[in-house]
Subunit: 218 residues, 2 copies
């Protein structure tokens, strides 16, 4: 995602500080992408609009990000690069609730950057790839929540962290993004609680559980 | 969604059978919408393309469906009108697994009509409204799964059917639509099982459960 060629004088400006200048250009451009995406949607997102809004020369934007997909992918790559760590409250329910509160806040935020990025992922393959990487990274980082709970003896040792974390967070994404309902902030606690109860009952430690009993008897 | 005015001779054809003709026109047009959406995406969907593909006069398509949003809304309205009933296997786990198997099949189907409609819902407000109505109707119809389980004594009487059904199905939508992973068909059984275990433990009967315990102790 770095520039394929060094910047020319025309768009580098009088003071050449490669690292700082490059980081500053990226910050301005990605801020412009987020703001423009939220205000006008994916349709209105283009190199020209982003260049104008950010005050960065369009040649620079084009050379570094290539197209709208590249811009969206870098917005998500930037988020993946950050030093975010999952909450550590001392209990599994507390951690899941705190995590869900962050998810809820992101999905109901104004401006709705996250939902705009999700919407864009249905239009742009690079944005979809970047979103997938972003979430994979987030779920990986959250695995420690489950490992700590196993060490505290809260859930069975074989508990699959990914399945537990998806069970805890999926109802929020489903209600807020796809079903477009207004479940209220309590869904963060409720979904954390139900995932906890399922985990305690061994739901995510049942490797090899065969769905024979579920095949139906009617 | 019925025509605002009776069809003219030019697009009605020689034999006038209002009911049959109208249903036949709708069938051809909605088939064309689904096929075109899957093949070329939302961007390429237009009155002209649908008219050409369906062999129905563009004036008829325009008068009855108005625009792409109206076409997508009617595709979903047609699905809502059907006589679909939730599975009845004799057990809650069996019902949830059978339901999830239908969801899994829809989300991994070729051609991917459901995922194309979900993608379109991020572009078109009428399509988003229609999708919301479609899902609301489906979850309403599925409430009987939970009512039967309560009568059988499988879960507590106060169990909230919507929360239980969302917990059972959400992991499939999350993994397949948003996270774009490839969880495999076993996710249908696994998510049914974890929702069942949470329900048995009373997770969806905890009205007024306050997240105090989840506020964190770290």
């Amino acid at each position: 995602m770095s520039p394929a060629r060094p910047p020319t004088d025309s768009d580098t400006g009088p003071v050449r500080r490669p690292g700082g200048r490059s980081a500053e250009v990226r910050r301005r451009v990605l801020d412009a992408v987020r703001t423009h995406l939220v205000e006008y949607g994916y349709e209105a997102l283009g190199i020209d609009a982003v260049a104008e809004r950010s005050g960065v020369h369009r040649t620079t934007v084009y050379r570094r990000w290539r197209d709208v997909g590249g811009l969206l992918a870098d917005v998500l790559a930037e988020a993946t690069d950050d030093d975010w760590r999952p909450p550590d409250t001392g209990s599994l329910e507390g951690d899941l609730h705190a995590l869900n509160s962050e998810v809820y806040a992101a999905l109901t935020a104004e401006p709705p950057v996250t939902t705009a990025l999700i919407a864009a992922s249905f239009r742009s393959a690079p944005a979809a790839d970047a979103l997938r990487s972003f979430w994979a990274d987030r779920y990986d980082r959250c695995a420690v929540i489950v490992h700590r709970a196993v060490r505290r003896g809260e859930v069975p040792p074989e508990t699959d962290s990914r399945r537990l974390l998806v069970a805890a967070t999926a109802p929020l994404y489903h209600e807020l993004v796809l079903l477009r309902s207004a479940p209220g902030a309590r869904i963060a606690a409720e979904a954390a609680r139900s995932a906890l109860l399922a985990a305690r009952a061994g739901a995510f430690a049942e490797r090899g559980h065969l769905p024979v009993a579920a095949a139906g008897s009617a």
